[in-house]
Amino acid sequence: MSDTDSAAHPAAADSAAHPAAAPSFPPRTAVRGPQAEPTVREALLTRSQAADHARTAGADSDQRAQAVRGLMRAQLRLALILGVGFFCAVVLISLLLVTTGFGSLTLWGVPLAWAVPGVGFFPVLLVLAGLFRRRAELNEQRWAEVLGLSLQSSVSTAAPQAALKTTPNPRPGSGAPR
């Protein structure tokens, strides 16, 4: 993308600077779209996202790659612990209900074999979900701190003040060149 831009601009400047040289047009060429496959970034990011990536990518790509790996590992570990843990707990508890007399104990007249799968797992699911969300956002916060970035805070409640304090806030309309 940037290649075609830099190739096009000098030509445009030339023709603007020398209107008298108009008769000697270069031979016409058919203009087609970029023939190279777009990169993943070009294809998928919005313009502002692409700018963000471009701004931060050059800085220290080795450190960046390291940080991404670290973040992924932390998130995967968190997800596996909670997910596999939940599944194993469910299997163990239902085994317990089936094999022992535990299932026929009653709680307010309801046997545990009914009460546990009927309502018992729901609160656990909610707690795990809330826990995961908080921890995952903390992991991302840590990643951002390592790279000296501040996260988009569309909904994240984690430390919005920190982002405000450290981000230079350009006045509206100043067009802040970055």
């Binding site: 309801v110 799968p117 699911l125 979900a129 995961f132 990643w143 996260l151 909904v155």
Partner: protein
């Protein structure tokens, strides 16, 4: 026409009218509006919409029916459905949103850059969508014929027409609003009858209940339960695996994650969503248990079975008439039927949107016109298939679709998001192995046995998630490791895109 029939038909007409009104010619402008509402949907609304879309005929009618028929086995369905979204939250929500792709095949292209993989995924997604629409249409058929006295073809046709109108004129933006409303409609439609029935059974005591313990004995023999605890256990486990993993591969649910503004919002949406699902599922569980108390005796069960082939799935619809009489029964039945119709409409429209999105991007160059053509295809095929196939229990049929997506899509999606070593070949063969094994096993099991609840070796065929899902994982990993292919060269960049949060600005260096 009885009072009940008039009330039911009025309620169904009202639900259809509201859906048409909300989904009518709206504000959508661009292709992006059609597909994912231009990503401007706030989390609470998105969560309501996902819940509205997800709570299908199986949840609304099927869960209580299974509890009535098979005892504690039915209790695992709500747990599995909800836990499926825990897995989505843990492994998929934020990365999927950050991938920026519209559909599951788009994600696959981003990850593998392979036309063959894309074709394969399109096939699987469209098949899953079609298979999932069929039980919704069946549900509409039995609901209208059991309570409204209409012929069996009226319900499916009505659902098809309403959904087609909404999707063709509004696209996903209006569908999002309509879906969000549908969740609350469904919740109310079960909550109000539950409260009244509980009051009647528990306090007003006008009903002679059979022996209370009858409700708790797991699996009444006459109703198909076996009393075999180990069989129950492994069957429940298989359902749990299928539902937990299968949610990852539901095309109409995953497409909703693209309508979140960013990854953090996608996580928040999913957390809200778990709360909404838990709130809802308490109701069918309660109603199922009450239905067991009412029809717990063998004689009552025989009487219920005598009223029509799909008796268990209509249990909730018949409950008010068994507990109340007169006007109260008519009104409550109408409320439940209206809610059930909301369930059929919302799930079907979600499925139609996602299937037609995939179809139009693959075959009709992704234009609005292609989307409309795709929508037409997405609903007519199940309509034809549904009228030809035999009738299964709703929750059982939906569990079979979950088994299919859990085997075919979940391993590739999970490993695609989290494993750098995955190759296009590995993904292809894993998806093929999962799709073929789960489909073949279930078709074989159904043709050999009589229903989705079987014992012994047949059970491994009828509910095969326990071996199909690990098989698909194993094939994917082994072919990736030892096959000829290499992981795609851009894997590193894609992983960074999926897993790093959205950035606002670089901080000044300290």
């Amino acid at each position: 026409m009885t009072g009940e029939q008039i009330a039911v038909l009025a309620a169904v007409a009202l639900v259809c009218a509201v859906t048409l009104l909300l989904g009518g010619p709206g504000f959508s402008r661009s292709t992006g509006d059609f597909f994912v509402a231009s990503r401007r949907v706030p989390p609470w609304m998105n969560a309501s919409a996902i819940a509205g879309e997800f709570l299908s005929a199986a949840s609304f009618l099927g869960v209580a029916g299974l509890i009535l028929a098979h005892g504690t086995y039915g209790l695992w369905f709500p747990v599995g459905y909800t836990a499926g979204f825990l897995i989505v939250l843990l492994f998929m929500a934020a990365p999927l949103r950050r991938s920026g792709a519209y559909t599951i095949p788009d994600f696959v292209v981003l990850r593998f850059r392979s036309a063959m993989m894309r074709r394969m995924t399109v096939l699987v997604v469209v098949a899953a969508g079609w298979l999932y629409i069929v039980p919704q249409l069946h549900g509409a058929s039995i609901a209208l014929s059991a309570t409204g006295g209409a012929p069996g073809w009226v319900g499916p046709l009505l659902v098809a027409l309403v959904v087609l109108f909404v999707v063709l004129t509004g696209g996903m933006r209006s569908v999002t609003l309509a879906q969000a409303v549908q969740y609350w409609v469904k919740l109310t439609a079960l909550l109000v009858p539950t409260v009244f029935i509980l009051l009647q059974v528990g306090f007003w005591e006008r009903l002679e209940l059979p022996e209370f313990h009858g409700a708790w004995s797991a699996g009444l023999a006459t109703l198909g339960g076996t009393g075999d605890q180990w069989g129950d256990f492994s069957r429940s486990l298989s359902v749990l695996v299928a539902l937990m993993m299968g949610t990852l591969g539901l095309p109409h649910v995953l497409v909703r994650f693209y309508t979140n503004p960013d990854g953090a919002a996608a996580r928040r949406t999913t957390t809200f969503l778990l709360g909404l699902l838990v709130l809802f599922y308490l109701l069918p569980v309660l109603l199922g248990v009450i239905a067991r108390m009412v029809w717990g005796t063998t004689a009552a069960a025989g009487e219920l079975a005598g009223t029509g082939g799909l008796s268990h799935d209509t249990a909730i619809l018949r409950l008010p008439a068994a507990v109340f009489d007169g006007l109260a029964s008519d009104l409550l039945t109408a409320l439940i039927a209206g809610g059930a119709f909301a369930a059929f409409l919302s799930t079907t429209s979600g499925l139609v949107v996602s299937v037609s999105g995939v179809l139009s991007q693959e075959f009709f160059s992704g234009t609005v016109r292609g989307f409309r053509l795709g929508a037409l295809l997405a609903i007519t095929v199940p309509l034809v298939v549904g009228s030809a196939t035999s009738e299964l229990a709703l929750a059982g049929a939906v569990a079979m679709v979950f088994t299919f997506t859990a085997s075919a899509l979940a391993p590739v999606m999970l490993l695609g998001v989290w494993w750098r070593g995955l190759t296009a070949q590995g993904a292809f063969w894993g998806m093929a192995a999962g799709a073929v094994s789960s489909l073949a096993a279930q078709v074989l099991g159904l043709s050999l046995g009589e229903g989705p609840v079987q014992d012994g070796p047949l059970q491994l065929l009828v509910s095969p998630a326990l071996w199909c899902v690990p098989l698909a994982f194993a094939v994917t990993v082994l072919v990736s490791r030892f096959g000829a292919g290499q992981p795609p060269s851009h894997t590193e960049a894609v992983m960074a895109l999926l897993h790093t949060p959205e950035i606002v600005a670089a901080r000044p260096s300290r």
